[in-house]
Symmetry: C2
Subunit: 256 residues, 2 copies
């Protein structure tokens, strides 16, 4: 019998403002998702964008228009209150972070939930893969496949791994196609246009340490950025690190 | 260097009406797709339906509205002429089969290409899995996840395999998540509501032969039927057995 009590409990704490900090590494075993909310007028093109770019934008669920319940991934949950922090963008500009979006929810909102590397991080740790806790996000020079007004460069996360761990990490993450899957690049950052001195997230890196190699995975901030660059009237995302905890078990979405 | 000459050549023969018969087992190594064309007014709900039902409806490509070229899976191809047989439905009723849809193509058409079990059949054969060439399609009692006006029961294909081959077949097909993936059921047809005496496609089966077991995979006719049951003004699909040959190599879409 599938046990979803831990996920429900965590969502309740978040809903009641009794949760402290981010969800990184919390409630292990359950798939955590990134969130993006758009008005229905933008939803078709954005859905096609995700279909065309499954590595950075692996869709776990698309809600019914106006429905705040992600009934397929977390029955009874409420996407207006069950994330600990939301970021609101208007016309492509960040306007605020908040803990609850009930009062700005609209009947034409569609919520997109994305698989996240938080899921495979845990699987890599279980397989003994080790890396410094620091994670970076970089822009590459690789174009995503556009759809309507949505387009942009592929963004990637970077982790430093030993050669041995890189082999294991590639195999482990390939089993999670709905959470970015296998790396998109291993080695020389410049090959994919990454400037390690200018990260989007994380501290600038001047030189790569001896004995490790940089390994890059597609990152769902790609989707968020493509959406916001298109300057929709309003867009709401999770604040980085504050994921949505689903009832889906990690083991359900991993391949043999 | 990826060689796509065989796929291009096959499409050219089809376009010029020089192709004989179905595409079953033809042009091995390339992914063949099922096709469904709908007006844009139906496309959003149908796309959400596919996202919610990835096993029967694994989307390989969604074209830009009005564009007959599936530029991501077969650059230069034309979906109005490059399938050997199309079936046209109006208001949910089949009205004709034809070899070319150029004269009924509309600027608001969206084409959906689906992964097909034709892809994993070849992989199973390579792995030594053997079954009588007869394949059936049945309705199950399993509901797909609805989206807007699209809904319906899951349809499955059935193949007879030995116990040993069932194990190999399960592993092989699990590597093709974009072509229906692992079986949805093995054994007693009644468990998923299948009446073997009433197939949707294939000859009625009264008794299952000794020494083999029925193995069931999700079937993309599910998507086609859900679309047509919603009675759209017009829908166009490939005629069963007449797939669209893409430039995508089977090896590109299979997992390790």
């Amino acid at each position: 019998m599938k046990d979803i009590s831990k996920a429900k409990e965590a969502r309740m704490l978040i809903r009641n403002s009794e949760w402290e900090g981010t969800t990184v590494g919390k409630v292990p075993g359950y798939v955590q998702c990134g969130l993006l909310i758009l008005p229905f007028s933008e939803a078709y093109d954005f859905l096609v964008y995700c279909q065309r770019n499954p590595k950075p934008c692996p869709l776990i669920e698309v809600t019914d228009t106006g429905a705040p319940e992600p009934r397929l991934s977390a029955k009874g949950a409420d996407l207006r209150t069950d994330l600990a922090s939301y970021t609101v963008y208007r016309e492509g500009k960040k306007v605020e972070e908040r803990e609850d979006i009930s009062d700005i929810w609209r009947e034409d909102f569609v919520a997109f939930l994305f698989g996240s590397s938080l899921t495979f991080d845990a699987a890599m740790k279980r397989a003994g893969v080790d890396w410094p806790s620091e994670v970076w996000i970089f822009e590459t020079n690789i174009d995503t496949v556009p759809a309507g007004k949505f387009s942009g460069k592929l963004l990637v996360t970077m982790r430093y791994l030993s050669g041995e761990d890189t082999i294991i990490a590639t195999q482990v993450t390939a089993r999670f196609p709905r959470n970015h899957g296998a790396p998109v690049h291993i080695g020389e950052p410049g090959k994919i246009g990454v400037k390690t001195s200018s990260p989007i997230y994380g501290k600038p890196v001047e030189t790569i340490p001896e004995g490790v190699m940089p390994v890059f995975w597609a990152c769902s901030v790609t989707a968020q950025r493509a959406a916001i660059s298109a300057k929709p009237q309003i867009a709401i995302s999770h604040t980085p690190g504050y994921g949505f905890i689903t009832d889906i078990l990690e083991s359900e979405v991993s391949l043999p």
